[in-house]
């Protein structure tokens, strides 16, 4: 039996939560589980194109340790999940409107488009929803 899709609602701009979302998403995707990630609120700021890791990630003790050690970068992990598994990512249309951003403001080759919360929630009824 196919695994139920994993839906991840990522809204925190905290590095540790973005990292955890990227780890969950990439490992689930490469384990034959469909993953759907919806990025909203402060989390979207971490996906702005052209930022350095120091500009992109803000957090506490583990943010510092992640950046000081050979821990896979969250953006790269999401990319690997997309490349090696069934992982889609959507930007919340409301926060994109508020920021007056278009898709080209976001990191290349990661997002599949914008989506509204209602559609994401309706889709999420078919699987397991995690909020970070």
């Amino acid at each position: 039996m196919a695994a139920a899709p994993l839906y991840i609602l990522l809204c925190s701009g905290e590095h540790e939560k973005i990292q955890m979302a990227a780890m969950l998403a990439s490992v689930a995707a490469v384990s034959d589980r469909p993953v759907r990630v919806f990025v909203s609120m402060n989390a979207i700021l971490a996906f702005e194109k052209g930022k350095s890791p120091a500009e992109r990630y803000h957090g506490g003790e583990f943010s510092r340790l992640i950046m000081e050690n050979k821990v896979p970068d969250a953006i790269e992990l999401f990319g690997q999940g997309k490349m090696l598994g069934d992982l889609t990512m959507h930007a919340c249309s409301m926060v994109m409107d508020l920021k007056k951003w278009e898709m080209d403001h976001l990191v290349d080759d990661l997002f599949d488009g914008m989506l509204g919360l209602t559609k994401f929630l309706a889709d999420a009824e078919t699987g397991e929803l995690l909020t970070l």
């Binding site: 034959d32 821990v71 896979p72 090696l84």
Partner: protein, 73 residues
Amino acid sequence: MQTIDARGAFCPGPLMELIAALKLSAIGDQIEILSSDKGSAADVPEWVAKVGHKMVGVTDKGDHWSIIVEKAK
């Protein structure tokens, strides 16, 4: 046999490196991954069983593990 040296990389780096290598391999090929990540010795066999490849062996080398996987599909 191809060997990937992922020592020093943290979770889930070694697993992702293994998966990328398996994707480029032929069925029957064996790949060894060297990992110092404490979770890899359990995580890699779990992933291999989940997706249907074959575990050849896990060996504790003291400061790292040698994990050998055969591509089965």
